[in-house]
């Protein structure tokens, strides 16, 4: 009788633990790791900005939240941000090096966040750098 009770109790504990694990796994789903994803598009910085400035809605439908590769010349560096061809603002992953000089040609890979009409720049985050 006692054995049965212990068995039932331990079964219940295992069940509850499994349920808790499943719930926490669904609730705390993992974030995308942009660095591990393949780029879906590869565009020059000026072209990317042009399509957004021209028709934000259709450009957004195509590029927003996608992992893309962008090429261009570094025109500005500030902290973990670089600007490509004055048109694309790239926020690098925190561990990315920012020892880049203005004028250098780069290709970056990151997530397209959207178009900033105050700066007239496309913003990209979680980016890493492939030197050209």
């Amino acid at each position: 009788m006692k054995k049965k009770l212990i068995l039932a109790l331990s079964g219940l504990i295992v069940g509850v633990a499994a349920l808790a694990f499943i719930i926490s796994a669904t609730l705390n789903g993992k974030h995308r790791v942009i660095a591990d994803e393949e780029a879906v598009f590869f565009v020059p910085a000026d072209e990317l900005q042009y399509v957004f400035a021209n028709d934000e809605r259709s450009a957004g439908a195509k590029y927003m939240d996608q992992v893309i590769k962008v090429s261009g010349k570094v025109t500005d560096v500030e902290g973990h941000s670089i600007v490509l061809d004055n048109r694309v603002l790239v926020n690098l992953l925190n561990d990315a090096t920012t020892a880049f000089q203005e004028g250098k040609e780069l290709i970056i890979k990151g997530r397209c966040v959207g178009f900033d009409e105050l700066l007239l720049q496309v913003k990209i985050d979680q980016a890493e750098i492939n030197l050209k």
Binding site: G29, E56, S81, G114, L118
Partner: protein
């Protein structure tokens, strides 16, 4: 003599021109400002997110201030919450950004010191296709040549026609606190 006159005239003209350009170039910008919001209810999982790439522009001549946050730039601790925020509540594919346009009242950039002062701002916040008038106070100070603006204000999901399904209604606060932290510089 004539020549020197002409040279003086041209240089005065040039100086005036340069002066005019300097007056025009009085925009201070932060391209990676912070905006966070909190809609947490006690006992439930915190509902909060932060955007660290918000743009803010202040025209120190007209005291007009503008800010823009891309909705996809808001990061949550919980990725599922982030997904719901984008897809069900904010609908970021249709409404990809939030903008604020306003005016600092009785503000003079030359009077700003290291000691933050309260400055009133009146403006409009637009998000999810709806607009709401915002009147609040900002703390404005400076460190070196960086103008530091911080502040917070409250809005409600109702203000912007964002409906919260009844199943999660008690997990999301009725009032959402939005806080901001900008470091503006001349570009």
């Amino acid at each position: 003599m004539k020549y020197t006159n002409k040279i003086t005239q041209t240089s005065i003209g040039l100086l005036l021109l340069i002066g005019a350009f300097q007056l025009q170039a009085q925009k201070l910008v932060d391209r990676n400002g912070q905006v966070a919001f909190k809609a947490s209810e006690a006992l439930f999982e915190p509902v909060e997110a932060k955007n660290q790439s918000v743009t803010a522009v202040l025209d120190t001549q007209s005291n007009e201030i503008a800010s823009l946050a891309l909705m996809k730039g808001f990061r949550f601790k919980n990725s599922l919450m982030e997904e719901h925020f984008n897809e069900n509540y904010i609908e970021s594919e249709t409404y990809p950004k939030a903008t604020f346009k306003g005016q600092l009242k009785d503000f003079d950039i030359t009077g700003v010191t290291n000691q933050p002062q309260q400055v009133r701002v009146d403006g409009k916040l637009e998000l999810h296709g709806k607009e709401k008038a915002i009147e609040t106070y900002l703390n404005i100070g400076k460190t070196g040549d960086v103008l530091i603006i911080t502040g917070s204000f409250m809005v409600t999901p109702d203000d912007f026609d964002i409906s919260i399904p009844s199943i999660v209604k008690n997990k999301i606060a009725k009032e959402v606190t939005i806080s901001l932290d900008f470091n503006l510089k001349a570009l």
